[in-house]
Amino acid sequence: MTAASVTQAPPRRRLRDRLPVLHQLRQSVGLQRGMLVAGLIMLGVFILCAIFAPLIAPYGFAQRADASGSFGTQQPPSPEHLFGTTVGGYDVLSRVVFGSQTAILVVIVAVTLSLFIGVALGLYGGYFGGWLDKVMVVVFDAIYAFPSLLLAIVLSIVISGGQSSLWGGVLAAGGSIIVVFIPQYFRVIRAETVRIKAEPFVESAKVLGASSTRIVFKHVFRNATRTLPLIITLNSAEAILTLAGLGYIGFGIEPTAAADWGYDLNKAQSDVTSGIWWTALYPGLAIVIAVLGIMLVGESLNDLADPRLRARRRVSQASGQVAETSVVPGGTLTAGPGGIDGLEDGETFDEHGIEVKR
């Protein structure tokens, strides 16, 4: 028996294939690509607005007058105020643009905190089990019973007595999201951990004598995180909706502290019946675009990550190269077109159990 002597460096993927979103974008076709592109555009607009708000917005979010005097209240759209002004005399466009900053802040606070806490608890509960795990499962199940908006109201009263500053409002919305979403991360990571715990590679680490900490962090954690991107996007959308909901029922952020789409919608309620559409339309649209953008991106990234849901271009009649099978002396060393990377991770069977080896 001789060792196969042909050695090649494994084919390195090019940079554009390794960047997370760009890779998926290149991979997608048809409707899935359309959804992803639409989502990315909406998300891009939302994020750019948040970053460059002071440059884009013609006025400040709490500005009611400029050099030429007061804006006036409920003014229809005009060259000076493209989206008109609100009943409080603010410029609608500026408030819509600045509102994206507040929204992104909530997303960051809510998602990072619940992510860290939920993942840590999930890893612990899933790997070690025991009474603490059982208690956590029961407690987190109980939390599911609370409507998140109710929690947000309670938190906003606790944090700022109902009258909120920027951080008061952000923390109230973010806090309720954290409380509601920790169980989600916990559940997902716990389930994955329990599954991975039984995988032979974890057992093989055990057999080698690895300590539990090493197994959890080196072998379990990284393999358990693949469903997280989808939950993160869903949670981000939910966080924005909760902030808007809080503002809408009157627990919003004071207009002088920050721009809050929900608060503006609340104040626009009475305008709608008197034919003043612009005060409600634009903040509402902003919420829709932000949430829809995030959802579309999350949904299509999820579809693309799953080989069973991913659409592919049809191939021409009986084309391509035939796989080399293992009987070649020395084993197969060269991959087919596209390198072995093209195969799904470790899988040589597709969803129908057909071997699609190269």
Partner: protein, 562 residues
């Protein structure tokens, strides 16, 4: 004789992320009425794809060319499966062609009774009343050898054993009396003794029902036992087609020769084992054993209020330094449990198990951990025993890092390279990820990892059962070579007597948690004393159609004698 299915110039391609992949290139096969055609080949040779094409079961990502002409039992209707509409395809499925799947436990729906599932096919193709369909289901269950079919027809799949489930699946295929049955690895998921029974049943399908069978398998023994004609597939093409006796006696294609040479025979290893035994020093038996089990008992705790499951029951065995003990048994015989107990993965509940002088009954992980560096473990499935996110070099370096022989994976690289070369993998493979290696290469890397600390004891749990025959042969050879070189003692667990025979100094046979027979290969395989061992040995199909026919007779006599 007339042709049941005629495959002409079939080509199948799949669209994948990396472009088109051709699974079948240019295949022409035909099957006559009442004939068993075996399609043989290794993973990726296109045999399953070819078979699925006959039923029109290819996924949407597939494109096909050529023609698959299927005629019905009477020969009055012909249809090209590739070009007909979905509606017509539904009509011919079940009536003209039926399928028997590999895994009987997933082919049956667990929430319906087997009678309902058989009747479903009947009612889909005729306006039979429920009563008639039930009567027919009872009749067919009786004919495939299910005892008490009147009662069993109302049972759910989980109430049947694995072999019986496969009988039910075959009954479902037979109930509409199709001219052709496609059987995709129908016995791979079954134990050897059950496999022999299912093969008998399939033979009866041909003889009594006059059904043609397309049998897809990688097991040459099964081919020799059942097939009339064989088509050997390699890389999407048929490389050889011949009568079964001609093929085994005088294979033409090089690939067929290589494939046949790689199949292990019972009796090949006894010479080598005798040589090894002769070379041992005289006081060898006085050395303290590496593993010593006395009256070993392992009970898995049952659910609340129920007795636990006794997986291992009063087993005594000894492994001395440098000795390979082969542990053979069917699924559920407790062989894997014993291996896991020795590696400290399963708790010992009774008796005594001494591993490297440590008593495993009641040991704590903390006390056992230092001993782990002296034990290696090779897992059954090489695909899942590597962390998919670490490179092969990092995986092989794990034991070195854990036991403080190296600071991190990169400083262990020199030693890792040595190990990779010892298992005949190019050192550059260390930079690859596990999924970038083939099954055999992964299993060799797995051996490298197990040997990294030069253990005194290596536990190999079915290390080759997930591999193709030719790859299996090379991994086994490597294992024997490494064993000579490193001189470790080994517990080699397998369900395949021929594989164990190749490597083991002594063979122990387990049956339902009890050790029924133990001895050297010559003793156990040459003149088995226990009736179970006899049956196990007789059930094992040999890759030789003439010899297999004789063995079949012998097995029948054994069964009647019981």
């Amino acid at each position: 004789m007339s042709t049941v299915v005629d495959i002409r110039n079939l080509g199948v391609s799949f669209s994948t992320d990396a472009g088109a992949v051709k699974a079948v290139e240019d295949v022409s096969i035909s099957v006559e009425r009442g004939e068993v055609l075996a399609i043989v080949g290794e993973s990726g040779s296109g045999k399953t794809v070819t078979a699925k094409t006959i039923l029109g079961l290819l996924p949407e990502t597939a494109t096909t060319k050529g023609a698959v002409v299927l005629s019905n039992r009477e020969g009055t209707r012909e249809s090209d499966v590739i070009s007909i509409s979905k509606q017509k395809l539904r009509d011919i499925r079940g009536t003209d062609v039926a399928m028997v799947f590999q895994e009987p436990s997933t082919a049956l729906n667990p929430v319906y009774t087997v009678g309902w599932q058989i009747a479903e096919g009947l009612q889909a193709h005729s306006d039979m009343s429920k009563k008639e369909a039930r009567a027919k289901a009872i009749e067919i269950l009786g004919r495939v050898g299910i005892p008490d079919p009147e009662v069993r027809v109302d049972h759910y799949p989980h109430q049947f054993s694995g072999g019986q489930k496969q009988r039910v699946v075959i009954a479902m295929a037979l109930v509409l009396d199709p001219g052709l049955i496609v059987a995709d690895e129908p016995t791979t998921a079954l134990d050897v003794t059950v496999q022999a029974e299912i093969l008998d049943l399939l033979r009866r399908c041909r003889d009594e029902f006059g059904t043609a069978i397309v049998l897809i398998t990688h097991n040459m023994g099964v081919v020799a036992d059942l097939a009339d004609r064989v088509a050997v597939m390699y890389q999407g093409n048929v490389v050889e087609q011949a009568d079964v006796k001609t093929l085994f006696a005088a294979p033409q294609a090089d690939y067929t020769k290589a494939l046949l040479a790689a199949v292990p025979y019972v009796g090949h290893g006894t010479v080598r084992a005798a040589e090894r035994a002769a070379a041992r020093p005289t006081n060898w038996t006085d050395q303290p054993p590496v593993v010593e089990a006395t009256d070993l008992e392992i009970v898995y705790p049952g659910r609340f209020g129920r007795a636990g499951f006794r997986a291992v029951d009063g087993v005594d065995l000894v492994i001395r330094p440098g000795e390979v003990l082969g542990l053979v048994g069917e699924s559920g015989s407790g062989k894997t449990t014993i291996g896991r107990a020795i590696a400290g993965l399963t708790k010992v509940t009774g008796g005594s198990l001494k591993v490297l002088d440590a008593e495993m009954n009641g040991i704590r992980e903390r006390q056992f951990r230092p001993l782990r560096s002296r034990i290696g473990f090779v897992f059954q499935d090489p695909a899942s025993s590597f962390n998919p996110l670490l490179t092969i070099a990092e995986c092989v370096a794990e034991p070195l890092v854990i036991h403080g022989r190296a600071k991190d994976a990169s400083s262990a690289r020199a030693r890792v390279n040595e190990l990779l070369e010892a298992v005949q993998l190019p050192r550059a493979y260390g930079d690859r990820y596990p999924h970038e290696l083939s099954g055999g290469q992964r299993q060799r890397a797995s051996l490298a990892r197990a040997l990294a600390l030069e253990p005194e004891l290596l536990i190999a749990d079915e290390p080759t059962s997930a591999l193709d025959v030719s790859v299996q042969a090379r991994v086994l050879e490597l294992f024997a070579e490494l064993q000579r070189e490193f001189g470790f003692a080994s517990l080699f667990i397998s369900h395949d007597l021929a594989v164990v025979d190749l490597l083991a100094d002594r063979i122990a046979v387990l049956y339902r948690g009890r050790l029924v027979e133990e001895g050297t290969g010559t003793e156990v395989l040459g003149s088995p004393a226990d009736p179970y061992t006899q049956r196990l040995l007789a059930s094992l199909p040999v890759p030789d159609p003439v010899a297999q026919a004789e063995r079949r007779e012998e097995l029948r006599r054994l069964r009647e004698a019981e």
